[in-house]
Symmetry: C2
Subunit: 221 residues, 2 copies
């Protein structure tokens, strides 16, 4: 494995080609699914032979792995790395809309998640891990909001449920946007987030009155 530094020398062409193939593979797997998207179709769109493709990735599943790694890599570029706690949720509407800018990745995600429901599918474990990470991230931010006193106390089960609902809304609206690009992703997510934060706070009002003497929330973010 070469280092991930700047490509140089004789590897430059190969690395560029690799990136190009992965980019096209994201599109094709997104459009046709992993089962339906053939390496020949991908190779044709890139403008190379299918043998070249296999030379780079060894097998179709090797290409899939590269695609998923690229997906993971881009998942961090969501514009949410600089916020935490309740602000994380407040930024979700615009972050989700920005992500919709890349239709290929959204298609890939939706198609893979659906295909992966079968435990024998090659991306089953990957998708489960990705959801676990998503839940953990959201749960951590919601817990921070609780600790900061921004919202009412929540049990671990309640946090889990809230986190799953947020994820469901993001996934469901994303799917609707795929099927009908005129779908207003921002408005939908914004409405959900605003209403949910209000609910988190409202149920906190009564609780906060009963504990106004202890645990002064000082730090934020």
């Amino acid at each position: 494995m070469p280092s991930t530094g700047t490509p140089r020398g004789p590897y430059r062409t190969g690395i560029r080609r690799r990136e190009q193939i992965v980019a096209v593979a994201i599109e094709v797997f997104g459009e046709l699914g992993y089962a339906g998207g053939s390496i020949r179709t991908i190779a044709d769109r890139v403008g190379v032979s299918h043998a070249t493709l296999l030379q780079h990735f060894g097998s179709k599943e090797g290409l899939l792995t590269a695609v998923l790694e690229e997906w993971d890599r881009r998942a961090f570029e969501n514009g949410l790395s600089d916020v935490s706690g309740l602000d994380y949720f407040r930024r979700l509407p615009q972050a989700t809309t920005a992500a919709s800018g890349n239709r290929g990745l959204q298609e890939l995600f939706t198609t893979m998640a659906a295909e992966a429901s079968s435990p024998t599918h090659p991306v089953h474990a990957f998708i489960q891990r990705r959801y676990a990470n998503q839940f953990a991230t959201l749960a951590a931010h919601l817990q921070r909001a609780v600790d900061a006193g921004d919202v009412a106390p929540l049990t671990a089960d309640q946090i889990d449920l809230e986190v799953r609902l947020v994820t469901a809304v993001l996934d469901g609206i994303g799917l609707q946007w795929l099927l009908d690009p005129s779908t207003d992703v921002t408005a939908s997510v914004q409405t959900y987030i605003t209403r949910t934060i209000a609910a988190w706070r409202a149920s906190g009002r009564a609780a906060r009155i009963n504990r106004h003497t202890k645990s002064t929330p000082t730090r934020r973010g």
Copy 2:
């Protein structure tokens, strides 16, 4: 096309076989997708040759059409036909949970919806029509709730947004349940519906004060 009455005479065996094939096809297409599920796999599970299958449905796409028709048919058996208005939404948690009893159909729905995002896919039009129907049904019930005075007035755009959010939650939680069957579908949907109805009502309180002289809501359901 034969009538849909009770099968009798020489057709009985053929019709039973047809139903059996469709049932298995729902499972296979759900697990592997339309592209990934071959008619040979379906035929093997049924215990017949793949030629028999093509004899009944003409082509793979013919079988898919039969599957989608069966799906449409079962969609009416959701236990929601006897409620309307706000009660329709109140019953969604248990209705959704009951639907989860049939994993095959849930898988089929999720897989097809994802695959269908590409406009060239054979089920693209079907899925779009199905979503349109879903939105129309939910919108009609929410409008009834508004007319009955159960919730605050909503514009057409607001109703559309609410309906899409409900659908997103149902789809998203359904997907989570597929990936992890220990997911508590009822609790998630129940939480969302309860909170949402409360929000629909709360925003109505202020409005209702301003119009307490006009439009007395009398009829319900």
